[in-house]
Amino acid sequence: MAHSGYAIELKGISKAFGPVQANKDISVAVPKGTIHGIIGENGAGKSTLMSILYGFYRADSGEILINGTPTTIPDSQSAIRAGIGMVFQHFKLVQNFTVLENVILGAEEGAMLARSLSKARKVLGDLSREYELDVDPDAVIEDLSVGHQQRVEILKALYRQADILILDEPTGVLTPAEADHLFRILRGLRDQGKTVILITHKLREIMETTDNVSVMRRGTMVGTVKTAETSPEELAELMVGRKVLLEVEKAPPTVGRTVLSVENLSVTDEHGVIRLKGVSFDIKAGEILGIAGVAGNGQSELLEALGGIARATGRVTLNGADLPLSGAGADGRSRRAAGIAHVPEDRQHLGLIMDFAAWENVAFGYHNAPEYQKNALFMDNDALRADTARKMERFDVRPPIPTLPAKSFSGGNQQKIVVAREIERNPDLLLIGQPTRGVDIGAIEFIHKQIVALRDAGKAILLVSVELDEIRSLSDRIAVMFDGRIMGFRDPETTDERDLGLMMAGMTGKGEAA
C-alpha cells in the first residue's frame, strides 16, 4: 500500500442507534505526527466516532484507513494491534492493582506473570524518562492522584506500542497545573512522531495544544481547520451553528441590603476532619459572590452547610433571621422555605434521580407546593407535568419531554432541568455549585445568562466553581478558598489569574482587599 501522510483516514463513517443517527457520513484525515483536536458539543457524536475507531462499535458504513491501509476494527484487540491507544474520560484502571499490574493486563508475555512484570518495569522506566511520565510502578492505583492515574492510562497505551493516542475529555478531572503537564507530555509524544487525537469541548485547550481541529455538530463533521488559522469565536460558532457569546454580558451590579451573612462557619466531617474553618462573608441583594479554589478546599462543605445538608457551627443569617445550622430546621426543606435555592455541585447524585422522569425531578424539594396538590391525599401529576413542560420550554431543555427519565438528557440539559427547578422558585439566595461542569458551550451561555438575570432581579447568588474563567466572568466579588479558609476577597476587574492562582495555592497574594 502506498505510504500516505495520514495516520488515520475516516471515509464516510455512519452509525445509527435505532432512530438516532449518531454519526452521519463522517470523513476526516489526521496527518501523522500531529495533535488533532476533535471538538463538538455533548451529543455531537465525538465519542461514538472514537468508539468506532477503538472497536467498541462497528460502523454501519464507511471505511477506516490506518497509515494508508484499509483496516477493519471489530474489537478493542484489533484496535490495539493497529496501534491505537485510548485514554477514556473515566479511567479503565483496576483500583487495587499496582501500576505495573494495570499496565500488563491484557498485554502479558506468556501465562506466568514474572516475566511480564520485569519487562514492564524496564519499559516503564524508559518511557517515563522519555516523556515526563514518571509514576512509581509499584504504587497502587487508588493511592495515586487523578493526574497520575491518567499517566498510567497513557503508559498503558504506549506499552502496547500505540502510535495513535486518543484522549477523551482528558482535562475534565485535572487541576490547571496537571492539565499543563499533560499537554507537555502530549507535545513530547507528537515530537517523537506519535499522533494524538484530543477530544474536548474546551476551546482554550484546542487553541493551546492542537495543530488541526475538526468540529462536529449533531453527528456530522462540520469542518477541519488549521488551529493557527482559526479563533475560539469561529470554533464556537461552528460547534453550535450560531454565534455564541464567550464573554458574559452584564451590567455593573446594583447592590441592595445584605441578604446572607455568614460568621465563623465551620464544618467537621464524619471522620472528624475539620473541612471548613471559620468562614465569614456577606452577600448583598443583586450581587454574585464567586468562590474560587481547587476542588476539595471546603467549597463543597460551605454549600452543603448553607443548603442544610451538612451540620455546621457558627452563625448564619438570611434577611436578618438566624438559620439553624444543626438539629431541627437544619435541612433542605427548611432552607427552601426560608428562600434559599440550591443547585448542588454533583447534579447526578444530589440534584437528580437519574432513573426518574424529568417531571418527577422537577417536583423534588417542592413536592409539597400547593399547586402540585390535587387534594389532601393525592398529588396533581398533570399539573406537575404541565408545569415541567413550561419550565423546559423557558429553559430550552431539549428534548422538551417531561416524561423522559433524567438520564436520557445530555449533561447540559440535565443541568438546565435542575437550574430551572431552583431558579423558577424565585429564591432570595441561590447557591450554585459548578453550574457548567460537563455542560456544552451553548448551554453554558444560557445558564450564565440565567444566573446574571437572577442577580439583576435583585437576588443574592453564591457561585462555587473550579473554572477560574467562569468565576472571573460572572462574579461581582471573588473569594478564594484554600484549606477550609477564605484566603481573601478580590474585585474581578482588578485581579488577575496569577494573583488568584497564588491564593488558590495557599499563598496570600498582594495585600488584603475586601
Binding site: 487495587n96 493486563l105 491484557g106 506466568m112 511480564s116
Partner: protein, 322 residues
C-alpha cells in the same frame, strides 16, 4: 483434655473442614471474578447426590466424583448463563438454584433407589478409603510429633489432601499467573479488562466453571468420603458457612484455609460435647454446640469481624458502556 483427645478433635476438624474448604475456594474463584454465588450449597448437594448414585451404580468412587463434578457444573453453567449472559440478578439465580437442588436431589434419589430420597450405603471401591501416609506407622512412637502425624495428618481420604493442596495452588494461580491477574481484574473493574481486549464473558465463565468443579469435589467428598451415601439436605448449610468463611478470609486463599479450619473446629466440637464439658467444667447443651458454626456464620456475615471489602464489581452484570 489429654493430648490424645486433642488429636482426635483436630483429626475431626480436618475431616469436617475439607468440604468447607472446597466450597470456600469455589466461591473465591467466582466472587473474585465478580460473580456472587450463593448457590454453593445447591451445587454441593447436587454433586453429593450424583456422586453417591453413580458410585453405587458403577461401584467406582472415581466415576462418582466425575458425576458429582458434572452435576455441579450443570448448575454452575445455568448460574453463568443467568448472571453473565443474560445479566440477571446473581443472588436470585443462586437462591433459585439452591431450591432446585434441594428438591431435585431427593426426587432423583427416590426415583432411582426408592429409599426415601437417600442412596443405599456405599461400600468398598464405591467409597474413598483412608490413605496412610509414608512412615506413619514407623513414626507413631516419636513423642508429640509422631501421634500428630499419624492421627491428624495421615489417614485421610485422597480428597482431603487434594483440598489442602488446592489452597497454595489457588494462591499461585491468583497471584502468579496471567489467568489470575485477569480474574482479579474482572472482579474489580470489568471495563478495564474489556478495553484491554480481553473477553469479560469468557473470563467469568471460566471462573464459574472452576467454581463448579470445586463444588463438585466438595459434594463428592461429603457423600463418598465423609459419609457413605447421600441423604436429604446432607450438606446442612455448609455452602453458606463456606460463604461466611470466604468473607471472614476477605477473599484470600490462605486466610480461607484458616477460616475453614476454624469453622471445622466448631463443627468438631459439636460432635464431642464430653470434651467441651471436660474443659469448661459444666454441661453445654448439645443443641447449642450444634448451633455454634451457624452462630459464627451469622456473626461473620453481620460484619462483627471487621470490615471486609468484597471485589468491587461483585454482583453487578457487566454492560459495555459507550
Amino acid at each position: 483434655m489429654d493430648y490424645a483427645t486433642l488429636l482426635q478433635l483436630l483429626d475431626t476438624t480436618i475431616r469436617l473442614a475439607t468440604p468447607l474448604l472446597f466450597a470456600c475456594l469455589a466461591g473465591l474463584y467466582s466472587e473474585r471474578a465478580g460473580i456472587f454465588d450463593i448457590g454453593l450449597e445447591g451445587k454441593m448437594l447436587m454433586a453429593a447426590m450424583a456422586s453417591a448414585s453413580v458410585a453405587f451404580l458403577t461401584g467406582s468412587v472415581w466415576m462418582g466424583v466425575l458425576a458429582g463434578i458434572g452435576a455441579s457444573l450443570i448448575l454452575a453453567g445455568i448460574h453463568g448463563l443467568a448472571s453473565i449472559t443474560f445479566r440477571g440478578n446473581q443472588l436470585i439465580s443462586g437462591v433459585a438454584l439452591n431450591f432446585v437442588a434441594s428438591g431435585i436431589t431427593v426426587l432423583v434419589a427416590q426415583r432411582l433407589f426408592g429409599q426415601g430420597g437417600r442412596t443405599p450405603p456405599l461400600e468398598g471401591d464405591a467409597r474413598f478409603a483412608p490413605i496412610t501416609l509414608p512412615f506413619a506407622e514407623a513414626l507413631r512412637d516419636v513423642p508429640i510429633l509422631g501421634p500428630l502425624y499419624f492421627e491428624v495428618i495421615s489417614g485421610h481420604p485422597f480428597l482431603v489432601y487434594l483440598g489442602f493442596v488446592t489452597v497454595p495452588l489457588t494462591w499461585w494461580v491468583l497471584y502468579r499467573t496471567r489467568f489470575g491477574l485477569r480474574l482479579r481484574a474482572v472482579g474489580e473493574n470489568p471495563a478495564a479488562v474489556d478495553t484491554a481486549g480481553i473477553s469479560v464473558v469468557g473470563l467469568r465463565f471460566a471462573a464459574v466453571a472452576i467454581t463448579g468443579v470445586l463444588c463438585g469435589l466438595a459434594g463428592a467428598y461429603m457423600a463418598t468420603a465423609l459419609q457413605a451415601g447421600f441423604g436429604r439436605e446432607m450438606t446442612a448449610g455448609r455452602g453458606y458457612i463456606a460463604l461466611a468463611a470466604l468473607i471472614f478470609a476477605k477473599w484470600r486463599p490462605v486466610a480461607a484455609l484458616w477460616a475453614c479450619l476454624l469453622f471445622g473446629f466448631f463443627q468438631a466440637l459439636a460432635l464431642r460435647p464430653d470434651v467441651v464439658e471436660g474443659v469448661l467444667h459444666f454441661k453445654v447443651p448439645v443443641t447449642f454446640l450444634d448451633a455454634l458454626p451457624y452462630v459464627l456464620t451469622v456473626l461473620v456475615l453481620a460484619g462483627f469481624v471487621g470490615k471486609a471489602i468484597p471485589p468491587r464489581a461483585g454482583g453487578e452484570p457487566y454492560v459495555k458502556e459507550r
